[in-house]
């Protein structure tokens, strides 16, 4: 069933290079079908379902027929060698790029082709591979910026300092401090974001993403540049976030210790295509994965 659906999508999209995409789909829908069947067994709508997602830049197929199903509450890993298209997948999911073909369903709702801010409001929040904080704003204001769409008052109310301003600002401060204390950043709330040490900047970025109250959190190499201690702490934080906020998390990571430690399922990308996907332990022992990415 899934097979016919995804092929239909490819047809309707009718973009250049779609034919090549179809050929690739033929090989991989096997894996996707297994995934979808799994979802149907539990009966719940998966938090994220991606079918046959493709994009090319010029002649390069950066992502080619990408499929994934992420159940609610899952900690899902996306791994693969450099240039495999992992961050491109994130950019497609968050609307930075528009896919050539494919469908993205968030909680069963089609969000394909929507703008970044709309997708955020639908419930996908992300962090970035190279940290993107609001560097001249305070730590507190970084999180409060994340609360922008959840605690509102108009610009005029803000300028005139009407009662609603004080009320909403108070709510925002409380909510932001709550989030900061989860990440042990509450003492640094007055610091400029750029003055935080590296590890805390990573945490602040996660806190800011969580402030938008997402259904799905995308973490792009959260452990990049961290020492083993910081990585171990980060693993705890990610686990904690999942428990505390009942969050579904998709993360890109090169640190196999972290991936093996916290991810339940994995998808391996290679040259824009899904190499394999499944339970973490199975995937990490897969011959093809070892050859293409992990090494002997």
């Amino acid at each position: 069933m899934a097979d016919s659906k995804s092929v239909k999508m490819t047809d309707s999209a009718a973009k250049s290079g779609a034919a090549a995409g179809q050929a690739a789909v033929g090989e991989k829908t096997g894996a996707a079908a297994v995934q979808t069947a799994g979802a149907e067994k539990t009966g719940a709508v998966p938090t994220l379902e991606v079918k046959n997602l493709s994009i090319s830049f010029g002649g390069l197929k950066a992502v080619d027929g990408f499929n994934v199903v992420i159940e609610k509450g899952q900690l899902y890993g996306l791994i693969g060698p450099n240039g495999a298209g992992k961050t491109t997948v994130f950019n497609l999911l968050t609307g930075v790029y528009k896919p050539d073909t494919g469908v993205i369903l968030l909680d069963g709702k089609n969000i394909t082709g929507k703008k970044t801010i709309e997708i955020n409001q639908e419930g996908i929040a992300r962090t970035f591979q190279n940290i993107r904080l609001f560097k001249d704003l305070s730590v507190l204001d970084n999180v409060k910026a994340g609360l922008h769409n959840h605690h509102k008052y108009s610009t005029l109310e803000g300028i005139l300092r009407l009662p609603s301003f004080y009320k909403v600002e108070k709510e925002m401060n409380e909510r932001a401090m709550e989030l900061l204390s989860v990440f042990d950043l509450d003492k640094e709330c007055d610091y400029k974001a750029s003055n935080l040490p590296y590890g805390k900047q990573r945490k602040l970025e996660i806190a800011r993403a969580l402030a938008t109250d997402p259904k799905l959190l995308l973490l792009d190499e959260p452990a990049a540049g961290m020492n083993p201690n910081e990585t171990a702490e980060l693993m705890e934080t990610i686990r904690f976030v999942r428990e505390k906020f009942d969050m579904t998390i998709l993360l890109i990571e090169h640190d196999m210790k972290l991936v093996a430690g916290i991810c339940e399922r994995l998808t391996v990308l290679n040259f824009g295509q899904v190499l394999t996907q499944g339970e973490t332990s199975e995937v990490l022992n897969d011959r093809r994965v070892i050859t293409a990415y992990l090494g002997e």
Partner: protein, 353 residues
């Protein structure tokens, strides 16, 4: 904690402006003000308003705009036009001036919005060039604009007075091309200037320290991240840009009402004026409203106060510019300042304890 700090900082800024007003009033009453300095008081306020409003675009939104004089020009002409139009309908000069201030701000704000829509898609140098061109275009258009009124209503022309084709008996030319608008009542006083400066500060400071200001600054710091947390980039960029333009328009109305003849000349509204305002903003510190006011007032008053030194005055002006830049931007100077400040604060705390 942060909030209180912000409140104190804002109070200091307001207090500084009010203190300046009191000092000038006292000096005026006791006869210590020269007529030269008296003539400077309204321009001082005007430049301070322009610097604060431009700082909203450059320091808070983070976009380089070189068309601020253009918005000021729009405000000045629409305001002066209204004051002259309503001469018979509204006899009270004060009321007309008030209405002119509102109209000037609205017109400049609307143009800010219209120009912002295409222009804010550009970045950095490109934005600077386009806004620079906009300022020049506005100035040159008003320079060839003729508007008259007679019993049949308003007449417009881009050629000369005769081509307005007005009724000879009742026709009055309101805007005379390069000769501009004459006969605007000189209603602008120092006190009104200070009140408008306080209003500008109130709007800008409250805007910055609100949800909207946070959104604007998040766009400045990282557009991609701002988008990823659901902040509407275009909306907030346009909002900041048009508020900044509206305040410049208001300053323009103030300016128009301090002159008996308003001309859209290069001296008044040319790109040099835009760059001068930018100099105030940069010297005062990007995003630092208090700095903008101090820089604007100091650098406006200085060339006039140094007139006695004849040939040396521009030299001293240049030296002051360099010293201010170093004081504000050099890492060593910033370090020294923070050491001095913390020592002063430490001293105060000990005394309190």
């Amino acid at each position: 904690m942060t909030k209180n700090k912000v409140r104190v900082q804002n109070a200091v800024t307001y207090g500084m402006v009010i203190l300046f007003w009191i000092v000038i009033q006292v000096m005026d009453r006791t006869g210590h003000l020269t007529s030269l300095f008296k003539g400077l008081l309204v321009p001082l306020c005007m430049y301070a308003i322009l610097a604060v409003s431009l700082n909203l675009t450059v320091g808070i939104l983070g976009e380089l705009s070189l068309g601020h004089a253009g918005f000021m020009c729009l405000g000045a002409f629409s305001g002066a036009f209204l004051t002259n139009c309503l001469e018979t309908a509204v006899p009270s000069v004060g009321l007309r001036f008030f209405m002119a201030l509102i109209l000037g701000a609205v017109v400049a704000g609307i143009f800010g919005l219209l120009i912002g829509i295409p222009v804010l898609r550009l970045k950095g140098d490109y934005l600077a060039i386009v806004t620079l061109a906009f300022g020049e275009i506005i100035k040159n258009l008003i320079n060839v604009l003729y508007v008259g009124r007679d019993v049949n209503g308003f007449h417009f022309s881009m050629k000369d007075t005769t081509s307005l084709g007005m009724d000879k008996e009742t026709g009055v030319v309101l805007i005379k091309g390069a000769q501009g608008i004459t006969g605007t009542p000189r209603a602008a006083t120092f006190t009104i200037g200070i009140l408008l400066l306080l209003l500008t500060l109130f709007i800008v400071l409250n805007l910055i320290h609100s949800r909207t200001g946070r959104a604007i600054m998040s766009i400045r710091d990282n557009r991609i991240a701002a988008e990823s947390i659901g902040i509407h980039i275009t909306k907030y960029k346009l909002m900041a840009f048009s508020i900044s333009a509206a305040l410049a328009g208001m300053a323009g109305v103030l300016y128009a009402h301090s002159l008996s003849t308003l001309k859209a000349s290069s001296d008044n509204f040319g790109y040099n004026k835009s760059i001068l305002i930018l100099v105030f903003v940069v010297l005062g510190g990007l995003g630092n409203m208090r700095g903008s006011i101090i820089a604007a007032m100091l650098l406006t008053a200085l060339p006039e106060l140094l007139r006695g030194l004849n040939d040396y005055r521009m030299l001293i002006y240049a030296i002051v510019l360099i010293v201010m830049t170093i004081f504000n931007s050099s890492p060593k100077a910033i370090e020294l300042r923070s050491v001095v400040m913390s020592r002063l604060r430490g001293g105060v705390k000990k005394e309190v304890a």
